[in-house]
């Protein structure tokens, strides 16, 4: 039980994280992995748990750009989708082994992120959001037109991975538990990578740009190049989420490229809290569980989700996890 004194955030001008908080920061990756191991046994279904993994990775990757670099992209669905499409096409049309297809998806998505980033990071502020949205919509329409590759509006299919071979053992990939833990390894890898990036000097540089772009430039940072690198890394992580989703569903819907999908990523990130490492993951979890549960109650679940989002922007801009950390963890 928390004491009343701790329930209210202390007005503090000093940043000296308490013992719990600094432990949580130091061991954030192992702690996250433990939480992920338990996840499928706490959620209504394994399929939902895998979706949480996927969107958790996507949101954490997205947050590298949004929360840590301070750039609001409305086009990240393009990278998630690119990862998924490339993986699916590689397996279904070229018979590439699944692990190589994952690698191709991640690299391809990263490359697309580099291209879109190179164009969009030249703009600032609200223009940046608009440009990312427009370029991502362009990707959507290209995928719609290139139907011989992507399946167009029908979606990409025909690449179900039934079993995978790990260290000489055949694993039934249709089994939900197996699938979860294999994909969890990818998620853990992604979390570890993002954590290292955030801990690195580059992590400090993007925070500086978020805090004060002009000052960062005056300090000698090549702001455009740093933003582009952040954009590319963020898009690459999102592409990994996309490849995971391709393996999970054995289907890539065209809708996965639409700007509504980008909006969903933003909502998840904000809901969980863009100011913290694990916040976006929590956001993905809460968003998906909410959707799952509310959509069983009422077909008008969107009004609930929308209202909650509005209230969060107004009153809890730190998000669920961010608020929780600020209030209860020292």
């Amino acid at each position: 039980m928390t004491s009343p004194a701790l329930a209210e955030p202390l007005p503090s001008s000093v940043r000296k994280p308490g013992r719990v908080k600094s432990l949580m920061t130091t061991y954030r990756v192992p702690l996250s992995i433990i939480a992920l191991c338990l996840l499928p046994w706490l959620l209504p279904s394994k399929a939902l748990a895998v979706n949480v993994l996927i969107y958790g990775v996507v949101a954490v990757g997205y947050n590298l750009l949004f929360g840590y670099t301070g750039l609001l992209s409305f086009g990240h669905a393009a990278f998630v989708g690119a990862g998924a499409y490339i993986t699916g096409i590689a397996i279904g049309q070229f018979g590439v082994p699944w692990y190589a297809a994952v690698l191709l998806g991640v690299l391809g998505g990263g490359l697309l992120a580099f291209a879109i980033g190179a164009l969009s990071t030249r703009t600032r502020g609200i223009y940046f959001s608009m440009v990312t949205l427009a370029l991502a919509q362009l990707v959507y329409y290209v995928a719609l037109q290139a139907s011989s590759w992507t399946g167009g509006e029908n979606g990409l299919r025909g690449f179900t991975v039934n079993k995978i071979n790990l260290l000489g053992y055949d694993i039934n990939f249709l089994d939900p538990v197996n699938k979860y833990y294999v994909l969890m390894a990818f998620a853990a890898l992604a979390l570890w990578v993002v954590s290292r990036i955030l801990n690195s000097p580059f992590g400090a540089a993007i925070e500086a740009i978020r805090e004060n772009e002009r000052r960062a430039r005056t300090c000698g940072y090549n702001v455009e190049r740093t933003k582009l690198l952040s954009f590319t890394l963020s898009g690459t992580i999102c592409a990994l989420g996309g490849t995971m989703s391709a393996l999970h569903l054995a289907f890539v819907p065209l809708d996965s490229l639409h700007y509504h999908a980008s909006g969903m990523i933003v909502m998840m990130t904000l809901l969980g809290g863009a100011s913290s490492f694990f916040g976006p993951f929590v956001g993905a979890l809460v968003f998906l569980v909410m959707e799952d549960v509310f959509s069983l109650w009422t077909s008008h679940w969107q009004i609930i989700v929308g209202s909650i989002f509005v209230l969060f922007v107004l009153f809890l801009p730190k998000g669920i996890w961010g608020t929780f950390l600020a209030r209860f963890v020292r």
């Binding site: 609001l72 164009l119 030249r122 703009t123 600032r124 502020g125 609200i126 223009y127 959001s129 608009m130 440009v131 949205l133 427009a134 370029l135 919509q137 362009l138 329409y141 290209v142 037109q145 700007y259 509504h260 909006g263 933003v266 909502m267 904000l270 008008h300 969107q302 009004i303 989700v305 929308g306 209202s307 989002f309 509005v310 922007v313 107004l314 801009p317």
Partner: protein, 288 residues
């Protein structure tokens, strides 16, 4: 291709452009004055169409719907500004964008609850049905009427912004809000009115679109994309830019529809990407 068809296509393009201008104006004005990207623009457009229909069915006249609904929804917009947007001034510029994004979900679902998910019929007012012979082809009278309305609205806006004291305050306020406060102008009142005006324009667009497009809860989603493209090409916040960009996009779509019709949507986004690469701030925009 004969000349008549090309002329006709050009005319269709201008008419479509006028409609695009109408859909973009509200978005452009709100951004220009408040620096807020209203993601609920499309949803408010849709709500406007439903409100127009509702008023028209109560009064039995399309014209009442056309007049009353934009005022009604404009007032509703002021409530949004007062209760939802205002607390966000001074925070990140992204916050109003995110809030209105969430709001659009609420509005769309709200309309689904009240009016159903399928959409409802919105017949063309009987005085404006039929087609007009332009010499090179036939064009719906109603569309010509809409072009006329857009012209009048743009003219009124221009007069209002350039020739009145209120317009002066609005333009000055957009440039330097702190200065206005120093001069004793209650800038928050101006913002309230401008937001209401922008939302009112969005819903006017909705009412006018009712007889042309099918009225359904999702109709705003496409409009939002179109309005974004037009305002971004024109330069966010530039009224003149929106008008020129709207017409240009209309003509480009129309010409594409003649030669490569399946590309008529993609060309809009391609044009936008192109403009942004050459001039990131849009044709008439100022750098942020």
């Amino acid at each position: 291709m004969d000349t008549e068809l090309i002329l006709m296509q050009l005319f269709s393009g201008v008419a479509l452009g006028a409609i695009l201008v109408l859909t973009a104006l509200g978005l452009s004005i709100i951004f220009g004055m408040l620096g807020v990207v209203n993601f609920a623009h499309g949803a408010l457009f849709m709500v406007g169409a439903y409100a127009g229909l509702w008023v028209a069915s109560l009064t039995g006249s399309f014209w009442w719907g056309l007049l009353v609904a934009p005022v009604m929804i404009g007032l509703f917009g002021m409530l949004i500004e007062y209760f939802l947007i205002r607390p966000l001034y001074g925070r990140s510029i992204d916050d109003p964008l995110l809030l209105t994004f969430g709001l659009s979900y609420v509005l769309v679902e709200g309309v689904r609850i009240v009016f159903g998910t399928d959409g409802i019929p919105f017949p063309t007012p009987s005085a404006l049905t039929g087609v007009l012979d332009l010499g090179v082809g036939f064009f719906p009278i109603y569309r010509i009427f809409v072009v006329g309305v857009v012209f009048v609205v743009v003219l009124l806006l221009w007069l209002g912004l350039e020739k009145t004291r209120f317009g002066l305050i609005v333009r000055a306020g957009a440039r330097d809000p702190t200065m206005m406060r120093v001069l004793g102008v209650d800038i928050s009142k101006v913002w309230l009115l401008v937001f209401g005006l922008g939302v009112g324009l969005a819903s006017l667009g909705g009412v006018l679109s009712g007889p042309m497009r099918s009225v359904n809860p999702e109709m705003g989603s496409l409009v939002l994309a179109e309005a974004f493209v037009v305002t971004v090409i024109g330069g966010l916040g530039s009224l003149l830019g929106s008008i020129i960009a709207g017409l240009a996009v209309g003509i480009v779509i129309s010409m594409t529809a003649l030669f490569a019709p399946e590309m008529a949507t993609i060309v809009m986004f391609a044009l936008m990407a192109l403009v942004l690469l050459i001039r990131p701030q849009g044709l008439f925009g100022k750098l942020a």
